[in-house]
């Protein structure tokens, strides 16, 4: 990671139980360039301890596609924390 480079800005969406716990549908966060989904989850649980109950269960989507925890994030990405789905 280059500490001189400007941070990347992301929108993070929340749904269902974690959305209710957080009290928000969406937040904007800044992370060091080169950050991964795992780094973002760490940042989120440190900033919003109320999310800790849910992070074990959530899947993450970047730009509306499921991704793994080692996926690198980029400026402007639309990130979503998805608890276990229950459609049908």
């Amino acid at each position: 990671m280059n500490s001189d480079a400007p941070p990347i800005r992301l929108r993070v969406k929340f749904f269902a139980a974690p959305r209710e716990a957080l009290g928000k549908n969406e937040i904007e966060i800044q992370l060091p360039p080169g950050s991964t989904v795992e780094d973002m989850m760490k940042h989120l649980t440190e900033t919003y301890p109320v999310l800790r109950t849910y992070t074990r269960f959530v899947s993450v989507a970047v730009n509306r596609t499921y991704v793994s925890m080692d996926t690198e994030l980029h400026e402007g990405d639309e990130v979503a924390c998805l608890p276990p789905v229950g459609g049908g």
């Binding site: 276990p84 789905v85 229950g86 049908g88």
Partner: protein
């Protein structure tokens, strides 16, 4: 953009099965097989008052389209796929989801239909909160 003609939609409105089936009717088809999901009045012996569905709409519609493409790849006899899922507050007996598949002949439609609803429950970002007389809970088959 997907080149397929699949009809997928997340809607706040009530769903009409007849309307969905009518939209699949073309002269080449001989079978339309449908699955209709309905809000059940009890869970684990407790009375359900209503369900509150929410969706990550853009991604839900994209994953529904993906399911349509998966079906078309596995069962080439399937002509059209329609998947409509409702969100918002639904009371007991209301339709939450309609899946309809059309083909020239019925044979492949049953397996494909089962695949469609199983896949929907597995990957489509839709959630439901069950409001019962004794409390409320977000429900999933995957917890």
């Amino acid at each position: 953009m997907s080149p397929s003609m699949d009809l997928v939609e997340i809607t706040c409105e009530g769903i009409s099965v007849d309307e969905v089936v009518a939209r699949l009717s073309t002269p080449s088809i001989g079978a339309v097989t449908t699955f209709v999901g309905v809000v059940r009045g009890t869970t684990d012996g407790c009375e359900v008052q209503y369900l509150e569905y929410e969706a990550y709409v853009d991604m839900a519609e994209e994953t529904l389209r993906q399911i349509g493409e998966e079906i078309r790849t596995r069962w080439q006899a399937i002509e059209q796929v329609a998947i409509i899922h409702r969100v918002g507050r639904l009371t007991v007996g209301e339709i939450s989801v309609v899946i309809a598949l059309s083909a020239a002949h019925r044979a492949s439609t049953f397996d494909a239909l089962r695949y469609a609803i199983d896949r929907l429950k597995e990957i489509v970002p839709i959630w439901k909160k069950e409001i019962r007389t004794d409390g409320s809970e977000w429900r999933s088959d995957h917890t």
